[in-house]
């Protein structure tokens, strides 16, 4: 087993924190729209997004454009929708077409906030240990 981490902990936790806060925003939006008719709950695949972020292969909205190789091809505008944003599969249908299950969203929101806090703690710890290595003083 390879014990050496693949990424520097500062870089890793920064990317994780960015994604966590981004997901926090998505989940807050789901909660705010829990009574909007026709609204569909969105979420991201965290592990996949983090891997893409770290390996520098993050997909932008422009990455799903069609290539126009012929004069007659019609170029399409990039979709304003984020290709990483997925739709949550509802566990039970609702009359107004809204797919927000407030229990699921709230538990995901709470879980996400705990992980955000963890990322913050790890990042803080890394910064402290580097500071102590630089200054030679125990922090």
């Amino acid at each position: 087993m390879n014990a050496v981490p693949k990424y520097d902990s500062l870089i890793f936790n920064e990317a994780a924190l960015k994604l966590r806060t981004h997901r926090q925003e998505i989940l807050a939006n789901n909660l705010a729209n829990s009574d909007t008719p026709g609204f569909k709950a969105r979420d991201i695949d965290f592990a996949k997004n983090l891997e893409e972020q770290l390996s520098g292969k993050a997909r932008s909205p422009n990455s799903i454009l069609l290539a126009t190789t012929h004069l007659a091809h019609i170029s399409i505008k990039p979709s304003p929708d984020d290709p990483n944003l997925l739709y949550r599969i509802p566990s039970q249908p609702s009359m107004d077409g809204n797919s927000v299950d407030s229990d699921v969203e709230l538990s995901q929101f709470t879980k996400n906030s705990v992980f955000t806090e963890a990322a913050l703690t790890f990042l803080g710890g890394t910064i402290r240990s580097r500071m102590s290595a630089i200054t030679g003083q125990p922090s």
Binding site: A32, D82, T116
Partner: protein
């Protein structure tokens, strides 16, 4: 910063749900209002919610796009002595459905609490971020 915008999103949810609660209160208060300022019978008012879309953002919360008056038929009540009674002795009463209003009130208050919860969590995380590296 994403955490700050989840505050804004929470705020849109709070104001939308507060407006819904206001309308419920107004509907319940006017359950017997035979005539409004325009002389017509009061009709139940409801909100229409729609999601706000912003480019390059996963979403920007919820907005109240319309307040509409319920189209359901008015309640006809027989009271011949009433000054607003028609030739047959019936009075048009508001079409407020108390059951619907109570359900709306509970739903709105739950949603309001959920948004407050979300904002509280975001606040704690932001405060923790401020302490980063200390």
């Amino acid at each position: 910063m994403s955490l700050l915008s989840s505050f804004d999103i929470g705020a849109t949810g709070l104001s939308a749900q507060a407006l819904r609660l206001n309308l419920t209160a107004s509907n319940i208060a006017n359950v017997e209002s035979v005539s409004g300022p325009d002389g017509r019978t009061y009709r139940a008012r409801h909100v229409e919610f729609s999601a706000i879309n912003k480019p390059n953002a996963p979403g920007a919360g919820v907005a109240v796009t319309k307040i509409y008056e319920s189209e359901s038929p008015l309640r006809r009540q027989y009271s011949p002595g009433h000054p607003k009674a028609d030739a047959l002795g019936y009075v048009d009463m508001p079409n407020v459905n108390p059951v619907e209003e109570m359900v709306n009130m509970i739903s709105a208050s739950r949603s309001y609490q959920m948004n407050v919860e979300a904002m509280n969590v975001s606040r704690q995380l932001l405060l923790k971020t401020l302490d980063l590296g200390k």
